[in-house]
Symmetry: C2
């Protein structure tokens, strides 16, 4: 019922809080896979395998005792909405 042929992709939200010297690297990795939304936030649709690649790249860069990267993953965007107040700084083309 909730598959609708898009079940092979997952919707990923990535939020990072990393040391200044790693911000550019993490943002660059994130943008290879996702769309930049705001500040330290990216989102997009990925296959599970591509998501694993993203995590693998992030894992190589971050310092576990200092940085923090959160991924929210959901199987369908049908249950989700997004509201933005103020400036819309990034792209929202991914949200269809």
């Amino acid at each position: 019922m909730h598959k609708k042929g898009r079940a092979t992709k997952i919707f990923v939200l990535m939020i990072y809080d990393v040391g200044e010297e790693r911000v550019n690297k993490i943002l660059k990795i994130g943008r290879k896979y996702l769309n930049w939304i705001q500040n330290s936030v990216l989102e997009g649709e990925l296959t599970p395998a591509t998501f694993e690649s993203l995590k693998h790249e992030v894992r190589k860069v971050i310092k576990d005792d200092h940085d923090s990267v959160i991924f929210y993953i959901w199987r369908t965007e049908h249950y989700t909405s997004r509201e933005i107040m103020g400036l819309e700084k990034g792209s929202r083309e991914i949200f269809i």
Copy 2:
């Protein structure tokens, strides 16, 4: 089928990117309603009415031409998971 008696609450993720002089105010408002997770990220379960109150308070503080606050809202957390890499800076008690 997807209501399960919790349909009265929604799961809210709030991410803010505001001028430095308004960070404390926004964080204070956010913490009245949600749990702090990381950097400029809070999350929690709210009733729709409480969510309206949160937005009302935020709207009074932010400068529309400078700040940005994003709310992701979903009706159920059953479709969602969260993965954290590195430090877990905030509370995750809300995620059950």
